[in-house]
Symmetry: C2
């Protein structure tokens, strides 16, 4: 079999790159482990099913306040089976849509494990297919890791591959890791009635430099209100099975019982057993494949995208890098990776979105920083929707007004942030953002107000 | 009393202009009829309370499908009093916030009816204040009109000023006018259990050239599914009181009974009795104040913004024009009105948003038109949220790829459209929109997909 491009991995990055390569005229072959893993981690065990469950939690928030809109529920029961079926239905539908579309346009997916034999030869174990190719794109993704004495066993200690198999809402759960995945599940399980303890090693939840302290604190406050027991600067000392669940000793000296422990402590790139060493593809000291601004490895015809290239493991980053790689294979040098415009979105008790620099990061880079904040508390659309919490925080260069970053907590943060992504791609300043015509009433007005706070001084009186 | 600027009307346009003028250093005085009318029609009897009720209807949609997320409501009752109280609470809070902020920064609001005595003199009846001023901004808004034998009486025939006073959900209502206001109330009342008949003179609902037929049809289908009886090409022939409500003869020969008739047929500018003729401000043949691209009237120191200037009566258009007027008073000639970038958003059974040209309008202007459509049906985030209906439709110039318009129906259309407003302000093309990094999963991806459909061919297989 011959191809212009073999893509190893039909997850978000591989799939998007495959469609793009096809559209750009490359004869493309995709290799994926099995028909059930098409769509990769995001679709099957990550962002898509978790966003589904998160929406259920959001609806439960709404049930609590529906009376304000004249709707008085006579109570409700919870039914995990329906939740799981609905979730599976979305996952399977998206996966089958993927496959149908690939078939329809004649983009082959070969099932099995791909191994690089040389830079131009991919052997697929299982289907025993040898493919000669001009280019290779490695998009094999990542897998969850354990930590210390916490080794996932699918019963007492679950990782984010295993959590989907539970058959009912847990009565209680201990979540290890207060990053994006941890706070998402904390919100979900808490809202569906579980006792939730969230343990985080660092001094705050969402301990990423890319997310400002303000955002993390605002979310933390809400999770605590909902009854999530957040323990920062805390680790699991030991645990043991007890009463069908677990008994856990924490480093703060306390003991917590739970149905199980959910590990949300991170992921490692899938770089083993695919022939990287054999063909001389370099990895860095953390095991990530080294790529340049075109997602190209040190072996010129081999590219890599997504989780295998950096700890910023986001489906859309993989999709973006995959397309940049294909564009470069075709001779394009105009489109380069820019991590600064990658939006980072967390769907928890609030949506928390960030793009670009935080105030601290901007100061570290030597900017004189201006910050404009607009609150959703007094935003009329947010008030109409009963979601008037959170803020838009715009970080700009004081000298030029150029927008350096934006951090949103609150309703639709995950969609609103894209307005700033567009602007930052084009190096726009706060004057531009201020002068756009925002619909009234809209949540988007808060972006204009945040920018206007910098451009011509505060225009809303209510502060967070 | 002396001022740099007197703003007549503290509605959306006047208020926003007032804050902006204050920030730009103009000594500004606002005049408004009474403390209860601050915020104008939008806040008190328009977009803010209607969006509140619309959110209740949206929640009722959610109650119907909550089981998919494992939430099984045991039924619910409806309580108009709570709905009305919640709605009033938002309106009053926003209004009082407005006034508090004006007071805090020292921006006076004088209550009474303003009359222009000469271009530099405003007399306020009621407070009997005479204000000498350099500039005047007329932002007096509009009022609803009757049509033919349908004269609002507050009992049988209600206009959109009177609808807020009803004390319970109607059993049935006949809505006259299938524009933005008509389809919003049709959705609201239908979802809260009323029998709704919607009568529209034109051949389709949303009969505006700025909204494509596809958007109107998609919404119409959903309203019909919900049980709204839509009668296009139909008018009210006659009506009479009957059984505490009304009996109505329609032009299609049928008879409809309803608790009342809601008039949603349009509005007229508030241009009477404020001295326009006396100081020589020109109006056009429909009664709108003539303004140039800086919102300036023929009397050079007198400006006008919002509903008094054109039938495109949108709060944010008024706000935008008000700021452009102030900028021009201060000598700015760089910021000009551009109606093409005014987003138009309808909140009904779907959100329906438009900006820029429709396909038909673009063809009429001589463009070779490319259209890119992405469906929400297969959008993973929309699926997770159970809102996977609708589409993003991007209209571009085939030759240059320049984005000429965008039309969105579906989840968060009213926020998503702003991404395209930003792009259109800056004359961006579909390549720009295609190459932005959209978060996955997100609704925003549909914008990228719509643009990509034009830029490099279809990437989703599911069509509307």
């Amino acid at each position: 079999m011959e191809a212009d491009l073999v893509i190893i991995g039909a997850g978000s990055g591989g799939y998007e790159a495959g469609i793009y390569a096809y559209r750009r005229g490359l004869k493309t072959v995709m290799v994926e482990l099995s028909p059930e893993t098409v769509g990769g981690n995001c679709l099957n065990k990550g962002c898509i099913p978790s966003k589904y469950m998160r929406y259920g939690a959001f609806l439960l928030d709404k049930m609590d306040i529906a009376q304000r809109w004249g709707i008085v529920p006579k109570g409700y029961s919870l039914d995990y089976k329906s939740l799981k079926e609905g979730r599976e239905d979305v996952v399977v539908t998206v996966r089958e849509n993927f496959k149908k579309f690939a078939k329809q346009i004649g983009l082959p997916i070969i099932y099995g494990r791909a191994v690089l034999k040389d830079p131009n030869t991919v052997f697929v174990e299982g289907s025993e297919e040898t493919i000669k190719t001009k280019f290779v794109l490695i998009a094999t993704g990542s897998h969850p890791v354990g930590v210390g004495n916490l080794k996932p066993d699918g019963k007492y200690v679950l990782n984010t591959d295993q959590i989907w198999d539970i058959e009912d809402f847990p009565k209680s759960v201990l979540i290890v890791g207060g990053g994006a995945v941890g706070v998402e599940f904390a919100y979900i399980f808490r809202r569906y009635g579980s006792q939730v303890t969230l343990v985080e090693l660092q001094r705050r939840i969402l301990p990423s430099d890319d997310i400002p302290e303000d955002s993390a604190r605002y979310l933390g406050r809400r999770l605590k209100q909902l009854g999530v027991d957040i323990r920062t600067k805390t680790t699991v000392e030991s645990w043991e099975p007890a009463d069908g669940g677990v008994k856990v000793k924490l480093s703060d000296g306390s003991e917590v019982e739970a149905d199980f422990i959910l590990l949300a402590v991170g992921r490692k790139p899938n770089t083993q057993g695919i022939g990287l060493e054999e063909v001389g593809v370099e990895v860095d000291d953390r095991g990530f494949i080294r790529v340049n601004e075109f997602s190209q490895t040190n072996v010129p015809n081999i590219y890599a995208c997504g989780d295998v290239t950096s700890p910023l493991m986001l489906a859309h980053k993989a999709m973006y890098e995959g397309k940049i790689a294909v564009n470069h294979m075709l001779g394009g040098t105009d489109w380069k990776r820019d991590d600064r415009i990658v939006p980072k979105i967390i769907y928890s008790a609030f949506e928390v979105a960030s793009v670009g620099l935080t105030e601290d990061q901007a100061e570290d880079e030597g900017y004189e920083v201006s910050v404009g904040v607009a609150s959703f508390v007094s935003n009329p659309k947010a008030m109409d929707d009963g979601e008037n919490e959170g803020f838009v925080r715009i970080v700009a260069d004081e000298e030029t007004g150029k927008i350096l970053g934006c951090h949103i907590v609150g309703p639709n943060a995950g969609e609103l942030i894209h307005q700033v992504v567009h602007m930052m791609r084009d190096s726009k300043d706060v004057e531009f953002a201020s002068k756009t015509l925002y619909s009234h009433p809209s949540l988007s007005e808060a972006i204009g107000q945040g920018a206007s706070e910098i451009y011509y001084g505060p225009i809303t009186w209510t502060k967070r």
